[in-house]
Amino acid sequence: MAGVAVHLKGIGVSPGVVVGPVAKLSPPPVLPAGMVPSGDPDADIQRTREALDRVRAELGERSAHAASVAVDVLSAQAAMAADPVLAASIFGKIRDGRAAPEAVKDALAAFGEQLLSIGGYLAERAADLEDIGNRVISVLLGLPMPGLPIRDEPFVLLAQDLAPADTATLDAANVLAIVTEQGGPTSHTAIIAKSLGIPAVVACKGAFAVQDGTRILVDGMTGAVVTEPSEEEVAERVGRLAKRRAAVTEYSGPGRLSDGSRVQLLVNVGTSSDIERAGLADCEGVGLFRTEFLFLDRPGAPSVEEQRETYRRLFESFSGRKVVVRTLDAGADKPLAFVRMADEPNPALGVRGFRTARFHPDLLDDQLRAISRAAMGSGADVWVMAPMVATPAEAADFARRAHELGLPLAGAMVEIPAAALRADHLLHAADFLSIGTNDLSQYTYAMDRETGALPELLDPWQPALLELVRITAQAGQRAGKPVGVCGEAASDPQLAVVFAGMGVTSLSMAPVSLAEVRAELSLYSAAQCAKAAELALAERDGESAREAVGTYLDSVLQT
């Protein structure tokens, strides 16, 4: 039955257009305090028996369709729901005068404790048992079944928000798209969806009111969510997606716009295990190598030699390509055992990033020395940059030290509005700038990026943040020096277009985002990118900026 199309709007965090039936993820049931037994234990036992049976049947059904890994867990879960000893224990408690849901909870808890006490594999099964309990109790209380929904056909998963536990068994083959009412662009949902390649829209107000089973369109690029969409709307969106998908398969190699202008595509590397994997990515180098992993969780600083080894490994993986190393970004929020920091009431505004070098100059010099030695003869084009630079004097100090230690290209990260506003002056000494949009957003809006309460304040599309990016990029153009973006924002394909339109020369992101960004950039000319940037800056908030750019870029594709 086709109803009236209702248009909802969220933040698209993982691109793709799909249409499918909604299945809602319900929260686990909460037992009301002081439940009173019905007074008819036989009837309660009968209801509980039926609830167990229904849960067993659903889990059994699900295991028949599940991917190989999940089959074992699901069939074991189904067997638990059919366990006669468990049932006898529940029924015994009901006869003893417990309300049915409480009897279920207690009996399962007793078995769960036994499994936990054995540990290992069996301890993990305790969570499966708890899940069964939640399902049985929900049936008894007449609530929707909690946990990941079970459906015969692929569905659009709709949730208030997803917790890591919810996504652990998420089956990418069965979930067409994810829509959450809460969350933001950096929420767990966004990260998981991106890594699984499932289209996703977060912060979609009003979405959770959509009824189970409703046919819904999800556009993970624009953030559009449409219930009961018309055939025309689906066709249009799918058509645009097809053009974008074609671009993904058609293009590889260096980033370029449709008129051939270049935008360098780089990857972020932050752990030792990332190094080799990143080397295989289709990218022009590393735009941000975070070095903290070398320093964290150890009693003393790593020696120059130890650091050199690690840098060497990275540089060799990127021989012939560019590698931008960010020097240690420590502070009260990322404390190091060997760097004594005074207690700070507000670590985000304390001595962190390049500021620590004032108090521990040797730490920085040793690191620069190790990078310089590792770079020698490695074949990689090694650049270094300092985190959290606030003033031109800091940028100049860092550049001087790096140059003295044999590193010819030394830049500064722009993460503080002061640095962006004075980018021209930073570039007197700095050889390049790299904008860290996550911190720049946090310091521009005075909103901790770990705080999810007001996601619109964390939206990287907000014009004030974009304005600072533009100021920085234009300073780079005037000075003839590169300006990159290496925050989460660079992995948003349409924001990448906006950055390119402002004159940003490189974008650094997680390897998984490269293909989509490369494809989107390839669809527009430099003039069209500039127009997109202009449109975004003319808007009053992030949501309308995203919408204006999305509509404009769609219109370019439609012609």
Binding site: A76, A78, D83, P84, V85, L86, L122
Partner: protein
């Protein structure tokens, strides 16, 4: 009471799928079957949770017991389920 001894044949131990298969086979048997580790308390073999809490690993010996007209054949067939490597069989 008739008894039979059998060793756990599944490499993963009497966990997950092997435990579910064993409990299901016991549930389908014509007579109730108890299972225990030597010296341990016997538990209902139809109960996957009880079977799991035996924490029987690969090669562990278990004692199956049953009473009734078809006890001997039931025990023999359950012993066989126990000794099969179900993970292997799955491929």
């Amino acid at each position: 009471m008739p008894e039979i001894r059998a060793k756990v044949g599944s490499a993963v131990g009497l966990h997950a799928r092997p435990a579910a298969l064993f409990a299901a086979a016991a549930a389908a048997s014509p007579v109730p079957v108890m299972v225990c580790k030597p010296g341990g308390d016997p538990v209902d073999a139809r109960s996957i949770l009880s079977v799991l809490t035996l924490d029987a690993r690969f090669g562990d010996e278990l004692i199956l017991s049953a009473e009734g007209p078809r006890a001997a054949e039931t025990l023999a067939s359950l012993a066989q389920v126990l000794e099969t490597d179900h993970d292997q069989a799955q491929g």
